[in-house]
Symmetry: C2
Subunit: 409 residues, 2 copies
Amino acid sequence: MALTRVVIIGGGFGGLTAARALRHADVILIDRTNHHVFQPLLYQVATAALSPSDIAWPLRTVFRAQPNVRVVMDDVVAIDRTTRAVLLKDSAPISFDTLVVSPGSRHAYFGHDDWEPFAPGLKTMRDAVRLRERMLLAFEQAEQRRAETGAQDRLTFVIVGGGPTGVEIAGALAEIGRRAMGPDYPHLCLDDLSIILVEAGPRILPGFDPTLSTRAVTALLHKGVTVRLNSPVEAIHAESVMIGGEWIPSTNVIWAAGNKASPLLDTIQAPQDSNGRVKVRADLTIPDDPWIFVIGDAAHYQGGDGKPLPGIAPVAMQQGRYVAHLINHNVSSDQRPPFRYTDRGMVATIGRAQAVAQLGSIHATGLLAWVLWCVVHIFFLIGFRNRFRVMSEWVWYYLTFKPGARVLY
Amino acid sequence: MALTRVVIIGGGFGGLTAARALRHADVILIDRTNHHVFQPLLYQVATAALSPSDIAWPLRTVFRAQPNVRVVMDDVVAIDRTTRAVLLKDSAPISFDTLVVSPGSRHAYFGHDDWEPFAPGLKTMRDAVRLRERMLLAFEQAEQRRAETGAQDRLTFVIVGGGPTGVEIAGALAEIGRRAMGPDYPHLCLDDLSIILVEAGPRILPGFDPTLSTRAVTALLHKGVTVRLNSPVEAIHAESVMIGGEWIPSTNVIWAAGNKASPLLDTIQAPQDSNGRVKVRADLTIPDDPWIFVIGDAAHYQGGDGKPLPGIAPVAMQQGRYVAHLINHNVSSDQRPPFRYTDRGMVATIGRAQAVAQLGSIHATGLLAWVLWCVVHIFFLIGFRNRFRVMSEWVWYYLTFKPGARVLY
């Protein structure tokens, strides 16, 4: 009997975890890039603290020791359920017995796609490298203008969205601006730098306990970040952004607000929610096919509290393991226990020696939460090399305030 | 009295060394990038062994502790000797009392500029990152074609130019192909990979002693590189290259042959040689201005043997120090001792545990030369962080054969 052919779309946390756990099947893992990226640290590449190869790992290398997994680098353009095949941009279609769909999501502009060029988001390594380039060039240009004309142009960064990504970017920018960039740009002073974190809702870090949201605001204010709550963005142009009826001049707007699941999901012919996520059943399959799974932030799965599970790495990884278990043991549709997410807590960093953490009823802030954040992130990085490189970069930056990856090319 | 204004064009080895040695003047260092790049290791970025930030250092950080040096990131478009100013692309002209011109060189195609898109060279970090992308995509595509059609397309790399850069690229590619890429691309076998080093002259490494050239050929052959001597390239198309009347199919041609000095030198109104280098006097100045210096591979300076000095880092660094000394002590034109180059030897690596070294009459090959190469290159890297990162990457690669920087973005 031929082995079951399992095709996995996407080498993010969900797809990668599933592929690693599938030991018996003939697995084809398709990704449009050649690497898995550790998304929780992507903002550190965007803010020039880490290099791309510190937090990414070639998929082929991950699966060197697992010969049942074949890696294909290509774009999946459609899922054809009639022929049970995925259609690729550059190569021949690949047929499947079982399909794991984990293509992730992109940032969404709430119907204002024209904002994208002025307010790039941060989902992929390419996004991070471009954001880094924009940031470094913004400092260069501000220094140059100051030296020539002494103009009062401020270097204003506006970060849209008060979730963990927005908070982490704002905190990192404030720190780099104050501690690392200062000595490098003699014509700029601290007053020239303005970092504004804009949140449409009533508080930042809405997934955390309200007391932690308040503490995060205090920590950000202390670092010099302006936090504007209840402030939806109304318009974004090339050189300014409108918030609460007021135009703020800024050429550096960063989008960390809405998400929209991959458009590939539209080809799967299954019910979707308003963010484009596929509404999966209790076993993470689509309603009319027990061997097509959708996982990660492409899936809309009702958690215990009636809300969909958040689009975070732990959910995707647990779903990947769950799906691999069903496939490994060929569990028939009526024998499957429902997927259950085990929430092990959340942690978001605000900068050097500052973070907020929430583990069940335990809340922590400050140095303790930050150390926890460091340990958790180092632990989940793939491979000894990356752990070692990231840790040594952090120690170096902690001691010297010289971020490691500020080379423009 | 106002301080002398010294403008330095280019933050390569010559310009950087001069700026660091100028302690009394008001120095403006202009570079079109924001970093100094350690060019001797650029081929390791191109072959995915090192990350860009491992071998580059932001110029602003280099001069943090030297407040008399101001860094400007811009393109110099012309040198205006009438107004004694350099004209910039994006900002106002900068006037000078003393000018140090060290813009380096670009690759030259001997009148065949149409070859450039098919045979990119390796001078800047951007070049290196693009070459790396081409190489990694070539392996991906070959693997994909093999898996689909089993075609006999070979993965052929043609490196044009048998100088140190060409030899180092050929050696590194052979090693990555054989040791690191093999396990990652299960459909490719060693026979699919073909690396051809093409040299127009009668031997590779012409700057070295002939016995070392011969040994380098042996080492390259041993690694599986085909070496073709006396073989000028006759034509390069998108998918093939003509050598000795024969078309070799290859979509991966790398140019490591001719150099041409920066076109900026044409605006200086001084005699140039056929490669565009300015013919400088014994004090490295242009004939009619004792305070305009040209150094590095932009300068044509007659060595003791009547040949121009080679365009290598030690020459540029010694020239930078010499020029800084003349400026620091305001040495008048008739009091200047001629510049004298001290040749401390040369070393070129062929791969893991393989190199050739020549220090005066001492010749070395193999492991000893390779250890020497490692030590010399680590020593000359700027900054503890980079030394540490590069060394740890080399140890990692030596032990695991997993090159560290294969992330495509």
